[in-house]
């Protein structure tokens, strides 16, 4: 199953610029797989190679066991939902959806049924005879989805599917996309720069940077167990400190952290004593208190705080001058906040909450 889509050592260069470097990935059938990264990380180029718009400079792509090399875009069982939707402005919603179907051996009645089924799937039956400029942005997005799904592709490529929608519509559409994927069983490859979008939509995520895949994993793995500083800082907020391994024993690692002016204990990781490492702490894993708690703790002064309603974000300066972000959920209603501006506070964390990265 995991061999449904195989990308083997794929690279793509445009002149001297290497857009994609030696990417190897495999995607299972029916999975929602995201390519996540900033602009210029190579995710879109990789997507265009899957669609057949670009040929890899090196490497091969297999879809359902078939080598895709030299297969033109029109002959691939792969359809794309474009970021700008790319609806044909001179055709009605219905004609847009049925456009690809003319290449299939269908009777007019079968084609009509298929279009009706698609309109139903995306709840656009009332707008079937309108032109794209006569419907809303959210509706256009659904027409693009229906058009790409109409020919029952093996692979659906979604280029920033939610980027053009406003925040409220985005959340709703996210769940709709997931439910449509579950109903159709089509494998989705989503390109996005939005980590939240990738986290909620995907079964697995490949985080890309400068043409290379940095890490592949489930949203939880990527968030809780990033493999390097790039992934750790790209997904969610994090504060990093330089540290050195002092001792490794009995499932624990003791680190000397200069910014903390002392030692902290974390869960065991594969680093020998003397190794320089990075200690990374997510804001929500830090506990703020007035009194010194047992275990890993460091003292600081609240420099900044932002109240969001359900939670608050604190920016705390340590004695070394380092700035740490910490989140606190506002559990009690109307209760005084844990700390105020310029308060002396203690930050503490569980050994298992810390992320230790090489370098």
């Amino acid at each position: 199953m995991a061999d449904f889509l195989q990308i083997q050592g794929v690279s793509k260069s445009f002149g001297p610029f290497q857009a994609v470097r030696d990417v190897t990935l495999s995607v299972a059938q029916g999975e929602i797989f995201s390519l996540l990264g900033g602009s210029g990380c190579g995710k879109t180029t990789l997507l265009r190679m899957l669609a057949g718009f670009e040929d890899p400079t090196a490497g091969r792509i297999f879809l359902d066991g078939r080598d895709m090399a030299g297969v033109p875009p029109w002959a691939r069982p792969v359809h794309m939902m474009f970021q700008s939707y790319a609806l044909f402005p001179h055709m009605t919603v219905e004609a847009n959806i049925s456009y690809g179907l003319k290449h299939d051996a269908l009777t007019p009645a079968q084609r009509r049924d298929r279009v009706r089924e698609m309109l139903d799937l995306v709840q656009l039956t009332p707008t079937a005879t309108r032109k794209p400029h006569q419907i809303s942005g959210g509706q256009r997005q659904r027409v693009a989805l229906a058009r790409a799904l109409a020919r029952q592709p093996k692979l659906l490529l979604l280029d920033e599917p939610l980027a053009a929608l406003d925040k409220k519509l985005r959340e709703h559409t996210q769940f709709e996309l997931m439910s449509i994927q579950a109903r159709t069983g089509v494998t989705f490859i989503v390109v996005t720069h939005d980590q939240e979008e990738a986290m909620t939509l995907s079964d697995r995520i490949a985080v890309m940077d400068r043409g290379q895949v940095q890490q592949v994993g489930s949203p939880t793995e990527i968030y809780e167990y990033p493999v390097n500083r790039f992934v750790a800082s790209f997904i969610g907020a994090i504060t990093s400190f330089d540290a050195e391994v002092v001792a490794r024993d009995a499932g624990f690692l003791t680190l000397h952290v200069p910014d903390f002016g002392g030692q902290v204990t974390t869960r065991e990781a594969d680093f020998a004593p003397g190794t320089r490492v990075t200690l990374a702490l997510r804001p929500e894993k830090l506990v703020i208190s007035k009194d010194r708690p047992p275990g890993n703790a460091v003292q600081g002064v609240v420099k900044d705080l932002a109240y969001f309603g359900k939670d608050s974000l604190y920016r705390i300066t340590l004695a070394s001058g380092a700035l740490v972000q910490a989140h606190a959920v506002n559990q009690a209603r109307g209760a005084a906040m844990v700390a105020d501006w310029d308060d002396q506070v203690w930050l503490s964390f569980q050994p298992s909450a810390a992320i230790v990265l090489g370098g």
């Binding site: 669609a51 029109w74 474009f82 790319a86 402005p89 001179h90 456009y99 032109k131 058009r147 020919r151």
Partner: protein, 298 residues
């Protein structure tokens, strides 16, 4: 503020084109219409509004519709203009499409080459064609060799009779009006989103189907605009048929000119001009209709 009145300036700016249109089109056109219902006289100017009621002489229009000379001239003009438009479209469309597909730098150079002929006098270019089509020119001789090579030996000729033919008229008109086809076509093709082509490819269409399904329908306003810019002046063309044409197949422009200057039948010349304009109103309205529709889809 006084003289600087925003509304006043706006009205003036909007009013100027109208003023222009009234002074230099509507008033002269009213004169032409009036002249077309006048009576030809051997005076100077050679027409008068006959004394009796209703002061309007419709016999000129009656002659226009019944004498074969005029109908034939109209027919020749319309077929020549239609042929010119079709050839311009056939040549111009690929050129305009190519202009949208090349790099920005070469696009500017190529666009300049399209309008470069306008830097030379139009008459000079027509004379150049007369030279090219002459019996002893390399152009004519080259075509003659090709002709002799293609056809059976007993059809062989020493030179092709290119000059003073309807062929020459259409050829020179195609040459002259080609930029008027390319530029509006380019303007409409350039606006098309190349992503749409990719979307059609992605949905299973081969490149030629993409052209038929996506590019061509969206360029219809450009085709109509270019077609009108070629068809309308070509239908009334005077200089080209006079210089390279054949006296036996007169175009309507030549008829108008002859009636004015040689026959001194100003009412008839005016009537022909009015009829030509009436014929051109149809296609122009078609264009406005498409223009309005195209604007509606944005």
């Amino acid at each position: 503020m006084g003289w600087f009145h925003r509304r006043g300036w706006r009205d003036l700016i909007i009013g100027l084109p109208y003023l222009w249109l009234v002074l230099f089109f509507l008033v002269p056109f009213a004169i032409v219409i009036a002249m077309s219902v006048a009576t030809k006289t051997p005076t100077a100017p050679p027409f008068s509004f006959g004394g009796a009621h209703p002061w309007v002489n419709l016999s000129t229009y009656q002659r226009l519709l019944t004498e074969p000379l005029y109908l034939r001239a109209f027919l020749i003009s319309l077929t020549n203009a239609a042929a010119t438009t079709l050839f311009c479209l056939g040549l111009g469309y690929p050129m305009a499409l190519a202009l949208t597909r090349v790099s920005r730098a070469s696009r500017n150079i190529l666009l300049m080459l399209v309008i470069l002929p306008f830097w030379t006098s139009f008459l000079l270019r027509v004379y150049a064609w007369m030279g090219l089509m002459g019996k002893s020119s390399w152009f004519n001789q080259g075509l003659t060799s090709a002709w002799n090579w293609l056809v059976p030996a007993d059809w062989a000729v020493t030179s092709l009779p290119l000059m003073h033919s309807n062929f020459a008229v259409v050829l020179v008109m195609v040459y002259t009006y080609l930029p008027f086809m390319i530029l509006p076509l380019y303007a409409s093709l350039e606006r098309l989103d190349p992503i749409l082509d990719e979307a059609a490819l992605d949905l299973g269409s081969r490149p030629w189907q993409v052209f038929l399904d996506v590019t061509l329908p969206q360029s219809v306003p450009g085709i109509i605009a270019g077609g009108l810019l070629v068809f309308i002046p070509a239908a009334g063309e005077l200089v080209i048929p006079t210089l390279v044409g054949d006296a036996a197949t007169p175009m309507i422009g030549r008829v108008i000119s002859d009636q004015f200057s040689q026959a001194r039948d100003w009412p008839m010349a005016s009537a022909v001009a009015v009829a030509l304009l009436a014929l051109m109103v149809g296609p122009t309205m078609l264009y406005s209709h498409y223009q309005a529709r195209a604007e509606g889809t944005k």
